[in-house]
């Protein structure tokens, strides 16, 4: 297994280089280093000299990908792409274009993202699987029919509606929890109730339907019929047999997102005033801070790759037939 993991890590390197290259190309197609300088220096009274100085200080005065002026390796290494990308591979994110330490910002902000994403993930998973099993149990009855109708309805509603509607209903009309905001430690609890609730509810439609499909497919298999024929109760059939055998497709979708929980939610964090990494990324895009965008995309890619490796490992835990060969 260790050799498999090492092999996967080596496979990740060209993927990360590719991701970096694509991010770099996309960013600089839209923004020139001059644009970045203007975004940081402001709108009023910005002189070409100030822009030139800003670029030089941060190394944005160099060519993007190929330095025709430099000799030898310098043609590749003395470029913006090389200088800004290499350090990422040792997780040295450097400083943002505003001058702040990106690693410090990530370390402080990821906890806020996690404070929402983890409960939404865990409570959501429990709720979705429970609802899906319930619907599978009551398949072909009014519970299943209206459950599917409700799921389709809930899937059809925009996530933004859940947020705004939830804030208005729970925070404004019922006055039960704050509409938005954040605090640290135990004081964060009252701010987390609403976003977690909305996060779970907004995912019920799509996720319950997805899991229901998996469970129904499993229920129709021969071993289930055999289990029933043995006289096992439906509960036992569902939880001991169907759930266990449905774990591979469930894990495929679930384990891969676990590392990404750190990255936060772009929209929810903005609406609830949560100072997480989602809003950090959005702010960086809005302010054309390439250093932060690049770091966050890189981090997201790394976490996604970790998620995929964890998924593979988890297969061996739930299905003895899977081997790393």
């Amino acid at each position: 297994m260790i050799s498999y993991i090492i092999r996967r890590i080596f496979y990740a390197i060209p993927i990360l280089v590719g991701v970096n290259l694509i991010t770099f190309a996309l960013f600089f197609v839209v923004n020139t280093p001059d644009d970045m300088a203007r975004a940081q220096l402001g709108v009023k009274r910005v002189t070409p000299e100030a822009i030139g100085k800003w670029k030089e200080e941060r190394g944005y005065h160099k060519p993007l990908l190929y330095n025709a002026q430099a000799a030898g390796r310098g043609a590749v290494t003395e470029t913006i792409f090389f200088e800004k990308s290499v350090k990422l591979f040792v997780f040295d994110f450097g400083r943002s274009d505003q001058g702040r330490d990106i690693g410090y910002d990530i370390r402080t902000r990821m906890w806020a993202s996690l404070a929402i994403a983890l409960p939404v993930f865990l409570v959501g998973l429990l709720a979705y699987i429970t609802f899906a099993l319930l619907m599978a149990f009551f398949r072909a009855t009014y519970v299943d029919f209206w459950g599917v109708v409700a799921c389709v309805l809930m899937m059809s509603i925009s996530g933004l509606f859940y947020i705004i509607g939830g804030q208005y209903l729970v925070g404004k009309l019922l006055n039960v929890v704050p509409i938005s905001g954040y605090d640290e430690g135990a004081d964060a609890l009252k701010f987390l109730i609403l976003p977690v609730l909305i996060g779970v509810v907004s995912g019920i439609g799509a996720n319950t339907r997805w899991y229901r499909t998996i469970f129904l497919e499993e229920i129709s298999k021969d071993y289930v019929r055999t289990a029933r024929a043995k006289g096992l109760s439906e509960i036992r059939v569902l939880f001991r047999h169907v759930l266990q055998n449905a774990m591979i497709p469930v894990l495929t979708g679930v384990v891969v997102v676990i590392p990404l929980l750190f990255m936060g939610s772009l929209i929810a964090e903005a609406f609830f005033g949560i100072p997480g990494l989602g809003s950090y990324t959005i702010d960086a895009i809005n302010s054309q801070d390439f250093a932060v965008v690049r770091a966050m995309v890189f981090l997201g890619s790394v976490l996604y790759i970790i998620g995929l490796i964890l998924t593979d490992i988890s297969y061996t835990l739930v299905d003895p037939r899977v081997r790393f060969e």
């Binding site: 804030q167 404004k172 702010d283």
Partner: protein, 747 residues
């Protein structure tokens, strides 16, 4: 603690358990959920009687605190770099430049802040001979501004000024490991203070030239302040000899035009005559910064922890930044060392009647703490304002109808709901101008020919600004007749203030000329019915804009309709801000939208936007229309060196007339700002220039707490009903489950 759940009086009695199983399930679950909700809420509220939805800590109840918000984190808090209103909202209350604007008087009036008086320029000719105050600009080689600082002003407590038992700076020689466990400025154990001295102002002036700080006004001030350009070159050379990020000690360098005369007096020498210079003395760029702060923050390890002057200011103003977590919250607290300033006793007519002068003579500031919370979206902010958790709010388009209504006479008044909550509406015309600019280098719409001028006038008449303001700004704006907004010297009201090329005076008010007159002008320009008289081709004009999205589409469609009234086709070229700036800079636009907010209340700060030598294409200046008119440019040079006087007004009138005649802009509108505040907030008055108004404001925390409790009683019955409905809907499912479990296999 009170709970308003109707279920509280309707819980099932003991007999409930004797009923059938489903009823036990229903009422039992409802009761359980209800109790759980109560317990959870009690935990949240800490049994303090505070509303459950209060986003602020219960411990702050009754505190002399103002609650506000910010939507994006400030980029710079270093006064040498900061140049935007969202940054000034903080540092304007922390730093203390020599001058400030009178909070109440209009027109805006400069008064001393840390200075003992507003300095008067002393003029000298090239030989150093003192000239009279009335000297003509062409005779003046230098102007000296001698500024006396009030003795006894102290800095806020700060670790950069802390000393140890031996009187040495406690944190100026940090060793590796000393910063372990320190993540913010408040983590340093010791703080200290010292008296503000003139050298601190001189130090800040040197910082304008610092090669790594990129002050946006360096180039402008380099033209005026003697020796500043030379200092910039000298510092750039010195910086090259330092390791990357090494400390550049400004105390080892001098700027020849700025001298410390004594402990509390310094002099700034400015080239020529520049009356607007005093306005700059009221801006944070000219605030004092102690050299100790630069030395303190330059130590290794500080920047890595984001502990910089750009993040943690050191000021002498009424407030100090004690929490700077721009990801969540920023907190200003009263500077315990601030004293000596009292609430003004004078204002403009009506201020006393409005109760704004009741606190005259009392010591400032009134409020102990200002809590700014990050609020990126308008909807949560607005709802929290209505709940009483923010003390003041602007009005967005989304909430306009909810907040404001128009009377039969067209006056603006608060809606009944707002009145019921005791909310007050304040309105003011912003020192801002929005315009549609023509690129004067463009062969079709530009140029100084009669043809181009008539085309521009025709378009100016056709675009109905009154309709635009009514539809798209809910009436929040006044159509502009020229570049100078109301409240700024040079603005003319009434008949003499109208633009005669676009309006005529009728029934005591300006009336836009008819579309027929615009069509006639278009025909005279060579485009009868919007077609080129020579080729017969329809006239197609391009408008560059950064506006996108559904709201912008409605506005742009409206603009296209205005051009259609003339038979002219309008092509909208939507582009992002970067491309837009690039196109304007290269002159690759035909028409464009822009606006300008004044730095200071002087007509020069608006008229320079059309000054020929500041053409965007030629000099990267702020004249985005690349307008040039020899007479206008000559008058501008003359006007900018004058103090306000009838003579200056006469020159401005002539300049405005030239602009109206040449029409390089479609004079669009001056926006009106609408702000709301709750009944517990006092002494608020819109001031477009002052950025230190917090110290005058006062809150009534007891009233706020009472109103919050009244407005935010938790409503629990819908939750109980929901729980009951869910429980009831589960009953048949449970029955089905049991039936299935008991039934035998089917044949």
């Amino acid at each position: 603690m009170r709970f308003l759940s109707p279920l509280a009086g309707r819980r099932p009695g003991r007999g409930a358990s004797d009923h059938t199983i489903p009823r036990v399930v229903v009422f039992g679950m409802a009761s359980f959920l209800h109790r759980a909700a109560l317990v959870a809420a009690a935990l949240v509220a800490g049994c303090s009687g505070a509303p459950w939805n209060n986003p602020h800590p219960v411990s702050q109840s009754g505190g002399n605190i103002l609650y506000s918000s910010f939507s994006e984190r400030p980029k710079h808090l270093d006064p040498v770099q900061s140049y935007s209103s969202n940054e000034y909202a903080f540092i304007g209350n922390i730093y203390q430049p020599p001058l400030q604007y009178h909070y109440f008087k209009r027109p805006y009036e400069l008064i001393p802040y840390s200075a003992t008086e507003v300095p008067r320029a002393q003029f000298y000719d090239a030989s150093g001979r003192r000239l009279p105050d009335t000297a003509h600009a062409r005779d003046v080689a230098y102007s000296d501004y001698v500024i006396h600082i009030r003795p006894g002003i102290l800095y806020q407590p700060h670790p950069a000024l802390a000393t140890d038992e031996q009187g040495r700076h406690a944190y100026h020689d940090l060793q590796p490991g000393d910063l372990d466990g320190i993540h913010a400025i408040g983590d340093f154990r010791r703080t200290g203070t010292r008296e503000l001295v003139a050298a601190d102002y001189v130090h800040q002036l040197k910082r304008l030239a610092h090669p790594r700080l990129h002050s946006p006004i360096m180039q402008l001030m380099g033209e005026y302040i003697v020796g500043l350009k030379e200092l910039a070159r000298e510092l750039a050379e010195s910086a090259k000899t330092l390791p990357r990020g090494g400390f550049l000690d400004l105390t080892r360098h001098e700027v020849s035009g700025v001298q410390v005369l004594d402990r509390h007096t310094y002099r700034i020498r400015v080239r020529g005559k520049y009356p607007q210079f005093v306005y700059w003395l009221a801006m944070p760029f000219f605030s004092p910064v102690p050299p100790e702060a630069d030395r303190f923050y330059a130590q290794p390890g500080m920047a890595e922890k984001n502990i910089t002057l750009d993040w943690f200011p050191v000021g002498t103003g009424p407030y100090m930044l004690t929490v700077n977590n721009p990801n969540r919250q920023m907190v200003l607290e009263r500077n315990p060392n601030y004293r000596g300033e009292t609430y003004p006793g004078e204002g403009e007519p009506g201020d006393a009647e409005a109760g704004l002068l009741r606190d005259a003579g009392k010591s400032l500031p009134f409020i102990d703490k200002i809590v700014y919370s990050l609020e990126k979206e308008q909807i949560p902010y607005w709802n929290k304002f209505l709940q009483g958790y923010y003390d003041a709010s602007g009005i967005s388009s989304d909430t306009f109808d909810q907040a404001v209504q128009f009377t039969g006479q067209g006056d603006v008044t608060l809606s009944d709901d707002m009145k019921k909550q005791g909310i007050t509406l304040l309105t003011s015309v912003s020192a801002t101008v929005f315009y549609l600019g023509f690129n004067m280098l463009d062969p079709d719409v530009g140029g100084s020919t009669e043809r181009g001028r008539k085309l521009r006038h025709a378009i100016s008449i056709a675009i109905d600004q009154e309709e635009f303001i009514s539809i798209f700004r809910n009436g929040r704006g006044i159509p502009s007749q020229g570049p100078i907004p109301p409240g700024i010297f040079g603005y003319r009201e009434g008949r003499e203030g109208i633009n005669p090329y676009v309006y005529e005076w009728a029934d005591g008010a300006p009336r836009r000329k008819s579309i027929e007159q615009a069509k006639a002008l278009l025909a005279e320009a060579g485009y009868p019915n919007g077609r080129d008289a020579k080729t017969g081709q329809p006239l197609l004009l391009n408008l560059d804009t950064t506006a996108t999205g559904p709201d912008a589409k409605a506005r742009l469609d409206w603009y296209a309709k205005q051009f259609q009234k003339l038979g002219v086709q309008l092509a909208i070229r939507a582009t992002d801000w970067n491309r837009f700036q690039d196109k304007v800079r290269k002159g690759n636009v035909q028409m464009y939208f822009l606006g300008w907010h004044a730095d200071y209340p002087d007509p020069e700060n608006f008229l320079f936007l059309l000054h020929g030598p500041q053409s965007k294409v030629r000099t990267s200046g702020e004249n985005a229309s690349n307008y040039e008119n020899a007479e206008f440019d000559r008058l501008f040079e003359q006007m900018k060196n004058m103090y306000n006087s009838p003579e200056r007004q006469r020159i401005i009138d002539r300049m405005v007339e030239i602009l109206r005649h040449d029409a390089p802009w479609v004079w669009s509108f001056f926006p009106k700002d609408y702000t709301l505040h709750h009944a517990w907030v006092h002494n608020r008055k819109p001031n477009e220039m002052a950025n230190n108004g917090l110290k005058y404001q006062r809150v009534d925390p007891a009233l706020r707490d009472r109103m919050r409790r009244e407005w935010n009683q938790p409503v629990l019955w819908p939750l109980a009903v929901l729980a009951a409905v869910l429980a009831v809907s589960l009953v048949p499912a449970v029955l089905t489950f049991r039936r299935r479990e008991r039934q035998t296999a089917k044949a």
